[in-house]
């Protein structure tokens, strides 16, 4: 398993070329490793115990990555590792037919990047739920979050639009994420 992870990492020769030193933007990284991992995480937001297992295993594997290498792109490593673990997790479930539920079986087969109709549905459900969760927050926090997430504005643009500082815009968005996490369950 570990070999598999490291095999994907850019070779030494490539690394030296300046163009490869440029780090990938975060959203690109997320999109590359995301589909199955994200689907999994969303389905487990209400069930921490399962995520804990994935996190525990990711943690152990992350400890084995050389520190200088990890510092180069921490997020890439984590997503690659976690995605591999989730993938294994589904494979394992598939090998134990009595535990396979219909839903899981479908999910395991969807490996492509494109969103399946089921995905879109659960994504929309999640978004609607988040919309409800942020409703009681102060209006400016909500506004900053919407402008950032829904409208894709930068913090500078949000700051100008709402008449707040860039720092406040950042802190509002990150507070909203934390609030959603803490209030996911009713």
């Amino acid at each position: 398993m570990m070999r598999e992870i490291f095999a994907e990492r850019p070779g030494v020769a490539r690394k030296k070329h300046p163009i490869y030193r440029k780090l990938k933007p975060f959203h690109q990284v997320v999109n590359e490793y995301r589909p199955q991992l994200h689907r999994y995480l969303r389905s487990k937001l209400g069930n921490e115990a399962d995520v804990e297992e994935i996190a525990q295993e990711s943690y152990l594997r992350l400890l084995r990555v050389d520190m200088p290498e990890l510092i180069r792109q921490p997020q890439n490593y984590l997503f690659r590792i976690a995605a591999n673990i989730v993938h294994d997790f589904y494979l394992k479930q598939r090998r134990q037919p009595k535990f396979v539920e219909f839903e899981t079986a479908i999910e395991t087969d969807v490996e492509g990047e494109a969103m399946s109709p089921e995905d879109e549905l659960s994504c929309r459900d999640a978004a609607r739920k988040l919309e409800k969760i942020i409703a009681p927050l102060p209006a400016k926090q909500q506004a900053a979050f919407l402008l950032k997430k829904r409208d894709g504005l930068s913090h500078e643009e949000i700051a100008k639009r709402l008449g707040i500082s860039v720092h406040s815009s950042r802190s509002y968005v990150s507070k909203c994420i934390a609030h959603c996490r803490m209030n996911w369950e009713e």
Partner: protein, 349 residues
């Protein structure tokens, strides 16, 4: 994989907020090298960090699908914000003279805006005041990393507490408890000082570790130079790379060379490195990280010393080494209490 309803109750707010912070930082563009290091160390700090980061990331991604038809108007939200605030503020400052003066030429909305601004100013002032002095702490077994406002990075080891006091001309950190590693952002105009017990450590741009042991503070330098001062008599010493300072019973600073400087910060990867270390010190180190507390009973003529690398979370690995030797008996009193009873060595016939 059973549901554990109790489990969700003890969500760690601090970790959740840190995870949200890193998630939004990463979305805003590439991190600086210092931030990347802090983030990498934060991830390696605990499986809980990874769990919360993954969940925060999933939430943040899903949030992009909120309100796809743009039904929620930001202007309406803001208008509601004004409406929420105004009545309260007007009630707070009712002055008949002022209102008669104001009503003539200023619309209620502008007056309200002024009130909102005043409140915003007060809050900013409070926030400014707060950031001047921040306290960070870790619980048993926890490790955390923070980027301070000047870009310096602090890694906090288990059961540790620091207070950060920054002003325009100086940067001061009080190590109130435990151990911290500082990667100081260079700024000769604002010296960086760490106060730990009776010892003050001054650095310009450098990486060093401060550990408040029961015998007093220990300062160790990984990179650069620091100046160590003993407050009681102003005894001082300059420490270079791979050097360590501690205080002697006689009230002096004692510097020693560290055989393997790379072990200074081994704790950041949750490792304990012992190099001919006395048993009592080894046990003290394990006890810092674990619910399971180990006690030594009895005395032995020559306290045994051990070398090795152990995971901070796994004292059992060390105990089994100890068990294999014939100098001690390990007694498990309960899940969280272990006693090492020292036995005089069996002399070979």
């Amino acid at each position: 994989m059973k549901d554990r309803p109790q489990h969700n109750k003890k969500m760690n707010r601090q970790i959740i907020e840190e995870a949200a912070y890193w998630t939004s930082c990463l979305e805003d563009g590439p991190l600086t090298p210092q931030e990347r290091e802090a983030f990498a160390l934060w991830l390696r700090g605990s499986p809980d960090h990874i769990k919360e980061f993954l969940l925060a990331q999933a939430i943040s991604k899903d949030a992009e699908a909120i309100d796809p038809d743009q039904m929620i108007s930001v202007d309406a939200l803001l208008a509601k914000a004004d409406a929420d605030v105004i009545p309260l503020e007007l009630k707070k400052y009712p002055s008949p003279i002022a209102s008669s003066l104001w009503t003539g030429w200023i619309t209620p909305r502008a007056a309200a805006l002024a009130a909102v601004l005043a409140v915003a100013l007060i809050f900013t002032a409070i926030n400014l005041f707060k950031t001047r002095e921040m306290v960070y702490a870790t619980l048993l077994g926890e490790q955390h990393s923070f980027v301070l406002e000047d870009g310096s990075v602090v890694h906090l080891n288990t059961q540790s507490k620091i207070r950060v006091r920054y002003d325009r001309n100086s940067r001061a950190v009080d190590l109130l408890r435990g151990e911290a590693l500082f990667t100081v952002a260079p700024n000769p105009d604002r010296p960086f000082r760490v106060h730990s017990g009776m010892v003050t450590t001054r650095a310009v741009g450098t990486i060093f570790n401060v550990y408040l042991t029961d015998k007093g503070p220990e300062v160790a330098v990984i990179e650069g130079k620091v100046n160590v001062i003993l407050l009681s008599n102003q005894d001082s010493a300059i420490l270079g790379m791979g050097e360590k300072a501690s205080t002697t019973a006689g009230g002096k600073i004692e510097t020693t060379k560290i055989a393997k400087p790379e072990t200074i910060a081994a704790w950041r990867t949750r490792q304990l490195v012992f190099e001919n270390t006395p048993l009592r010190e080894i046990i003290r180190e394990f006890n810092r990280y674990n619910q399971t507390q180990i006690r030594i009973e009895g005395t032995i003529k020559d306290e045994p010393h051990f070398s090795g690398v152990f995971n901070v979370d796994n004292p059992d690995a060390f105990l089994s080494t100890l068990n294999a030797s014939d100098i001690a008996v390990i007694i498990r009193q309960s899940d969280n209490r272990i006693v090492i009873r020292l036995t005089p060595p069996n002399h070979p016939i």
